[in-house]
Subunit: 114 residues, 2 copies
DNA sequence: TAAATTTACAACCAAATGGTTACATATACC
DNA sequence: GGTATATGTAACCATTTGGTTGTAAATTTA
């Protein structure tokens, strides 16, 4: 079974879980309470997320706190960033701005040719 | 059946297809030749990608050319960007750099408080 | 027109996915 | 100790996924 970051965030429930615990660690029951599926179903999502390294679970008494470890999301960010030229709006204008600034600032030898 | 951008790019074969045709449109057979699975399997991936709006197919004689339409990837970019603070390295330094530049350049009224 | 090429798609299949219920275990609380 | 709470997990199920083979249709090309 595939277990990578892309597959992990493909499921909307898992994206919600990430969103939920990114702000504040929650124990497993607390996470599950925010959904109308069973605790077991959420537990399985959490297991997938831990297996992918996006969530870390820390025991505290009888509770397990789910903590978001989102470093791996940079893989997704990197992959998508390759194609930012294709939806050039916001991001593109940010980059253009940066390029302009750099041009003014640093006087690079050659222009924007790759 | 779910059919969204996140699910579309969850499959590594589909990510490869996107990569392949982002540079240059290819007809369906040409895409399939780059994989060791059947043409039918690739055809199905292409169907999913078109249903998600990431690929557009244009007929040209008996051939269909697959063209990448990657605008929708900004959904993924946006979602991931929320969490960039969590893997602060490269991206973070880019942003810091931009912030510094802006600070020098524009003298903003208030700092980085959101 | 006949043959080759390119695509569409039906029918089928094994495995993965996302869910359930039921039960076991571990810890906290009285 | 006994009970309540929090978690782990087995067993099961329907659907989706990603693949296959086989066949049909459309378009060139000879």
């Amino acid at each position: 079974m595939r277990r990578d970051t892309f597959q992990a965030i493909a499921d909307p429930t898992r994206r919600e879980i990430i969103n939920m615990i990114a702000h504040k660690s929650l124990n497993i029951n607390a996470v599950a309470e925010n959904f109308d599926t069973s605790r077991t179903a959420i537990y399985k999502h959490l297991k997938i997320l831990t297996e992918c390294g996006l969530v870390q679970i820390k025991q505290q008494g009888r509770e397990r706190y789910c903590e978001a470890k989102l470093d791996k999301l940079h893989e997704v960010s990197d992959w998508v960033a390759q194609y930012k030229q294709f939806w050039n709006e916001r991001f593109d204008s940010l980059e253009n701005y940066l390029n302009e600034i750099q041009a003014k600032d640093k006087k690079p030898k050659n222009g924007k040719r790759k």
